[in-house]
């Protein structure tokens, strides 16, 4: 691999990692509250398609294009879209206490399906060329600091990304801090570990679950937006976010529920996912095979964690369980 290719490889890895990082940071917050949200791929897709909806109406409105406004509109739409999808999950699992696995999987199917539907619809309205594309907005998302390309290799490796890459890392670090070092984080962890204990300690379990899951859903949704706007340069493609959603869920386990570890994990996952084309002479078949490496790595981590059997590295104890107060 030549030097230029190496740089390009690192850049590609980091670009993809932002999507995974945001997706899994959101899922970590959710899981810390004891909710296993397997609807993450669906939520990421709904965040992404909401951004596309915003982009479509903004471009169509005829208002003169402004990059900042385009970002604000798509960003806002993604938040609303992801939040609405997550609220379905919250209402079903927290209020109605349905099975989290089934609800989550159903939500993924729903989110992917509805985003495919809307994506095709917008694509049709835009002339049916196969993809819905908003190149100007893609540019806006991928804009770097003006002096980044003057800094040589350093600039290329560290400063050549759109704002969402840095936003993802900042969010991950803040979330890691809040979870481990603040009272809110302590309460949140208690809800996920042992809701009965949290309840007896006067913590409003349902409120924590709702808030954490919604916030997590929004952050995951931004991951979807990040993929479609930044990595794919505002080109919508059906069915693509499914796999990144599952990678984000796998990354949660890889990072043993710690967003700060997820920062590095996401880059590793991103690298494993994009490495195929950079290995010369690799056939298409082999490239597809390489894309499953992140899952293999996750299994290895799972095995190591369970062999070491350290309580602090285990999933939250009541992950996936609904909480009923008046049950013995």
């Amino acid at each position: 691999m030549s030097f230029e290719m190496l740089i390009a490889f690192i850049q590609q890895s980091v670009r993809l990692s932002s999507t995974l990082l945001l997706g899994s940071t959101g899922e970590i917050i959710t899981e810390k509250s004891g909710n296993l949200n397997l609807g993450t791929p669906g939520i990421m897709a709904s965040g992404a398609i909401s951004g596309i909806i915003g982009a479509y109406f903004y471009t169509k409105s005829g208002i003169p294009f402004n990059p900042i406004v385009s970002i604000l509109i798509t960003f806002g739409c993604a938040i609303i879209g992801a939040l609405l999808t997550t609220l379905i999950y919250c209402f079903l699992t927290i209020t109605l206490k349905t099975n989290q696995n089934v609800t989550g999987l159903a939500l993924t199917t729903f989110g992917i399906g509805i985003s495919n539907f809307i994506g095709s619809l917008i694509n049709g309205k835009m002339g049916g060329t196969g993809i819905a594309a908003f190149p100007e907005i893609g540019e806006a998302y991928r804009a770097t600091l003006p002096f980044a390309d003057k800094l040589g290799v350093f600039g290329k490796i560290f400063l050549s990304y759109g704002f969402m890459t840095y936003l993802g890392i900042i969010i991950a670090v803040i979330v890691a801090f809040v979870i481990t070092k603040t009272r809110v984080g302590l309460n949140l962890r208690a809800v996920g570990e042992n809701p009965a204990t949290a309840d007896a300690a006067g913590i409003n379990v349902n409120r924590y679950k709702y808030t954490a899951t919604c916030l997590g859903g929004i952050i995951s949704g931004l991951g979807g937006l990040c993929y479609v706007m930044d990595f794919a340069a505002a080109n919508w493609q059906n069915n693509i976010l499914d796999q990144f959603g599952w990678l984000a869920v796998a990354l949660v386990i890889f990072a043993v529920w710690r967003p700060n570890i997820a920062v590095f994990g996401s880059i590793i996952f991103g690298a494993l996912y994009v490495i195929g084309p950079f290995i010369l002479g690799l056939s298409n078949k082999s490239q597809e095979l390489i894309k499953i490496l992140p899952y293999l790595v996750t299994i290895v981590v799972l095995v190591i964690v369970s062999i070491r059997d350290k309580k602090e590295n285990q999933p939250p104890q009541s992950l996936g369980l609904a909480y009923f107060r008046e049950e013995r």
Binding site: R183, N187, A190, N194, T197, A198, A200, A201, G202, R325
Partner: protein, 512 residues
């Protein structure tokens, strides 16, 4: 003693579906006194206390705190009224440190500062002479340490009305004495303390007054100094019961299980059993005493084929064939197929013995499903067995199709013990079979064990109440830190002698 009422309950009623848990309860506890609440399983003691601490909400009735009527809708409301409850099943987060558990859910002024909290905790601990390490993780703690954390947790919140739900069920005699000393100190400090317990001698030695519940109804309150064990039992059960265990002389004893130089290593690589050798005889009850976690569980599991044996032999003299079989490295199923019957009542009754979400009949089938001849399950016989157990052992349940999880602790225990005995074993191992049971049920279980002994079963009984061990067992083996520290004759030993043996090796190695 000042006679100011801290809490007054008036006509409290609570129902769960069609089950009446509490009916028209009237109760008062004063400041500077310890009130015991006594009652059989399912008599509604815990439900009543849960209403004071905000877990449940009463259907009818009023609660007064310091003479004013209050509404307690959530645990938070209870804290605001300075009511703190120490639950029977600890409400602690395993992966948190003691200090983190204690400050959990608090809305203190200022920045979240765990170091400062640790200092405050030390202060409280010193005031009432508790021993606690604030930064130690809960999952590394012994049961008594966890309980200490629970108590400090409520004190930290400024509670001056404390409710303890069966605090001594899991403690050694020494730990119990320590706890009582602390409770007396708190009482003298002006706090109101409510304690739920089954152990009559504790009620008599600790409390100032005793309130008795029976089947959800309030029977009455008596001054401790004017009452006696037999009066309390009568109030509790509604009839006079005999508190003597009928110990018969062992007949036709024969060596049934011979354990030779047994060594076991647990999952963490720690040696939990060290050179254990003993013989369990048919027609005799062998008691095993020891501080919780000294290897009792591993020993029983090793015999039952659930624990890998590092070294040593488990020899079983089969009464049918008169052959000696080695049980070592056989799995539980193979052991049964050989005609060797070990019935095992695990310590953790809902974890290993029964499936909580299945009903009583299905739980019976867990032991018998292989016996069926057709591909379909046979439900008739397990159902008959379930009905028989419910009838014989007076299990309180709506019917035989109720999930076991919904029964109260004592009733779960009865189902488990009943099932194991129904397998007509030749060796019956029971670990803490009366843990958390009231007197009536406990004596029922003791009698069942005695019956088995008279039938020629070799009974191995791991117990925690030394009084009972001394009264029930023919021989008592004491283990400490995985080693046998002594074997004594149940007929001429004392509680104190066993207590000494229990701590013999323990002293050198800390809280092993």
């Amino acid at each position: 003693m000042n006679n100011k009422a801290a809490i007054e309950l008036k006509n409290i009623t609570k129902t769960f579906g069609s089950v009446i848990a509490n009916k028209d309860i009237n109760l008062t506890v004063n400041r500077g006194e310890i009130l015991s609440i006594l009652g059989e399983n399912g008599s509604g003691k815990t439900t009543l206390m849960n209403m004071i601490s905000g877990i449940y909400y009463p259907d009818e009735g009023q609660i007064f705190v310091d003479g004013e009527e209050v509404v307690i809708r959530s645990p938070k409301d209870a804290f605001d009224l300075k009511i703190g409850m120490i639950h029977q099943h600890f409400k602690l987060v395993d992966v948190f440190s003691a200090a983190e558990n204690i400050v959990l859910g608090l809305k203190e002024e200022g920045k979240y500062d765990i170091k400062k909290a640790e200092i405050n905790i030390k202060e409280i601990a010193d005031k009432y002479s508790f021993e606690v390490e604030p930064s130690k993780k809960i999952h590394e703690m012994s049961v008594s340490e966890k309980q200490t954390v629970e108590i400090i947790k409520v004190l930290y919140r400024g509670a001056d009305i404390l409710i303890l739900d069966e605090p001594t069920a899991v403690l050694t005699p020494q730990e119990t004495q320590k706890l009582f000393a602390v409770l007396r100190k708190m009482r003298d400090d002006g706090k109101a303390i409510i304690i739920i317990t089954h152990k009559l001698h504790e009620v008599l030695s600790l409390s100032d007054r005793v309130a008795v519940l029976r089947k959800g109804e309030y029977i009455g309150t008596v001054e401790t100094k004017n009452t006696s064990e037999s009066e309390l039992t009568e109030m509790m059960v509604g009839k006079k019961i005999d508190l003597n265990i009928d110990r018969s002389e062992p007949k036709n004893t024969a060596d049934r299980l011979v354990i030779k130089n047994l060594d076991c290593i647990n999952r963490e690589g720690v040696k939990v059993l060290d050179d254990i050798s003993f013989t369990a005889k048919a027609g005799e009850i062998l008691g095993i005493a020891g501080i919780a976690g000294s290897g009792q569980r591993e020993l029983l599991e090793a015999i039952a084929g659930l624990q890998h044996i590092q070294k040593g032999e488990v020899l079983y003299n089969n009464p049918k064939t008169d052959k000696t079989e080695n049980l070592r490295d056989k799995n539980p199923l193979q052991i049964r197929e050989l005609g060797v019957r070990l019935s095992f009542v695990p310590e953790d009754r809902l974890g290993m013995g029964l499936v909580g979400n299945m009903d009583i009949v299905d739980n019976m089938m867990l032991r018998s499903y292989r016996k069926g001849k057709s591909v379909f399950l046979e439900r008739k016989r397990p159902k008959d067995l379930a009905l028989k157990i419910i009838d014989d052992l007076e299990v309180v349940t709506p019917n035989e199709n109720t999930p076991v999880r919904r029964l109260s602790g004592g009733n779960v225990q009865k189902v488990l013990v009943g099932r194991e005995i129904a397998a007509s074993p030749t060796v019956l191992m029971a670990a803490y079979p009366v843990r958390g049971l009231d007197i009536n049920s406990s004596y029922m279980i003791y009698n069942l064990l005695n019956e088995q002994k008279e039938k020629g079963v070799a009974v191995i009984f791991v117990g925690e109440d030394l009084d009972v061990l001394v009264e029930l067992c023919d021989r008592i083996m004491v283990i400490g830190s995985g080693k046998i520290t002594g074997v004594v004759d149940g007929r001429n030993t004392t509680k104190e002698e066993i207590g000494l043996l229990m701590t013999k090796t323990d002293r050198g190695e800390g809280n092993g």
